[in-house]
């Protein structure tokens, strides 16, 4: 692990989590968690149910503020910042249970994802300055490009909830990508997908990384996680159990007994 870190230490971590703790009532959901995410890597957080993965996600995305500790994104503290601020700084996410805008079409969903990269407000919409039209046309073009990227260009005009579940997942990823994030958080992206779709997902995520986006994912599907991740953090009962490359994690005794072995 040290060897790996030293070989890329010229690169600043995109995200640094320092001694993060959070409790709900009397329950300690996360205890003293620290880790770093380097740019353009795929970083996975795994652990049994109740390990604190979603809590960690919700703190990085600004839904909860931590009790203790710091979260640094591009060297700036972001803990306690509002969700929408973080999105405009480049942190986007998808949900464990796909949360599309059901009454809207597929392309409209992606356009909503682009919200933070557009500027038109109430006045702009009413007056329709030339800039507004240009912005809208450009946004549609970008949205179509993203739909092509995830393979949904043929369904652009369909109602998002009419899509099969697997496609809805891909649409959610396209929607998150529309915000042009530097850091994309995916909460169990493979849940509910069949084997073929999971494989397509893996390819898509690697393609996203090649575009320079850093991925942080919580995932239960071990084949996917081990296959695509550069680095894995294992949580157990709110604490850090292990950290390392997929190969190191697979060989780690503590992980095997706490997680993989019991599964």
């Amino acid at each position: 692990m040290n060897a790996q870190e030293s070989s890329i230490d010229v690169r600043q971590p995109l995200l640094e989590v320092e001694a993060l703790s959070k409790s709900f009532g009397g329950i300690q959901a996360l205890y003293d968690i620290s880790f770093q995410v380097l740019p353009a890597t795929i970083h996975a957080v795994i652990g049994p149910n109740g390990a604190g993965k979603t809590t960690l996600f919700n703190m990085i995305t600004g839904i909860y503020s931590p009790d203790e500790g710091r979260i640094l994104y591009r060297d700036k503290e972001i803990q306690g910042k509002k969700v929408h601020e973080l999105v405009s700084r480049g942190i986007a996410r998808t949900f464990q249970n796909v949360e599309l805008f059901g009454s809207m079409s597929v392309i409209e969903n992606v356009l909503v994802g682009r919200h933070v990269r557009m500027r038109c407000g109430f006045w702009g919409a009413m007056v329709r300055w030339p800039g507004v039209k240009r912005e809208e046309a450009e946004a549609r073009e970008r949205a179509m490009e993203l739909l092509r990227f995830v393979g949904l260009e043929g369904a652009a005009a369909d109602r998002s909830l009419d899509l099969p579940f697997g496609w809805q997942r891909f649409l959610e990823i396209a929607r998150a990508m529309a915000a042009q994030p530097s850091l994309l958080l995916l909460d169990e992206p493979a849940s509910g997908l069949n084997a073929v779709e999971t494989q397509q997902l893996g390819e898509l995520l690697e393609e996203i990384r090649r575009r320079g986006v850093t991925l942080l994912l919580v995932e239960h599907d071990m084949t996917l996680t081990m296959g695509i991740s550069d680095h894995i953090l294992v949580l157990h009962q709110g604490k850090r159990l292990a950290e390392g490359t997929p190969r190191e994690i697979q060989a780690n005794e503590a992980v095997i007994s706490a997680y993989l072995g019991k599964d």
Partner: protein, 317 residues
Amino acid sequence: MRIFLFALAVLIIGLGVSNPYHLQLLTFIGIHTLLALGLNMLMGYAGQISLGHAAFYGLGAYTTGILTTHWSCSPWLALVAVLLLTTLVAFLVALPMLKLSGFYLGMGTLGFGMIAFILFRGWTGMTGGDSGLVGIPALTVGPVSVGSGKMYYALVWAVVLLCFTICERIVNSRVGRALRAIHDSEHAAAAMGIDTARIKIWVFVLSALFAAVAGFLYAHLVSFISPNTFDFMVSIRIVTMVVIGGMASIWGAILGASLLTLLPEWLRVFSDYEMIVYGLVLMMVMIFLPQGLMRGILDLYERSRIKYRRPSTPSRG
């Protein structure tokens, strides 16, 4: 294009109708359409209910009424005051209120509507209390009086067209998508970077402004206002217009406002049973066209088209 056709229809109707009673009715439909259009932005698109919209209707009417009668202020100057005051009041109300949602938001706005009603009734020195405010001057544009009849019809519907355009443009923009996103899933909308609190406040202000302009036009049309025009039942009626016409449909607002304005007139023949039939009609609409008139009519049209086409298209088996 559709707006152009709409404007043409307004013009043709305006030229064709000469019966003053019918003109007045059409003018009222216009005023009610403004109310419904505004609430539709808030309720139909953003999914935030308001059971106190009559308060802003009244705020518009009373502000201009008080300024023009007590201080002989020019109505157009009063209009500026109406817009400013409504923006301020709506903003201050929305700030705490839109932290609520669902039933609680309904209760909160209901309370606001009642406070406004009590103010209209109780501040007798200014509003005239229950006996109302008399002698609100007619509007004039330069030397021309637009007190009633065709002129007022034209004025009101010009404002409707303007507001209609505003709504259509907002709905089909980044802001409109954000509103619909909030309606579908507020926390997913926030995760897309939408400042949900802020945009909800501004759409509330926008819808309050529409209602206040409607109040302004109402006051100068009838020249007499009293608190009962702005009570709780009126708030409910505005909500009903939006729901009957069809939520999240701009055209639905016009249909809803038209139906709820015309129905009581048509149902006069039932005399004592008027309200029963009125209620029945609304129930029937909701049972058979739960998405509202606009969606319902479109669906019927689609279905009849499919039916008509069927023989020529091969069946899919």
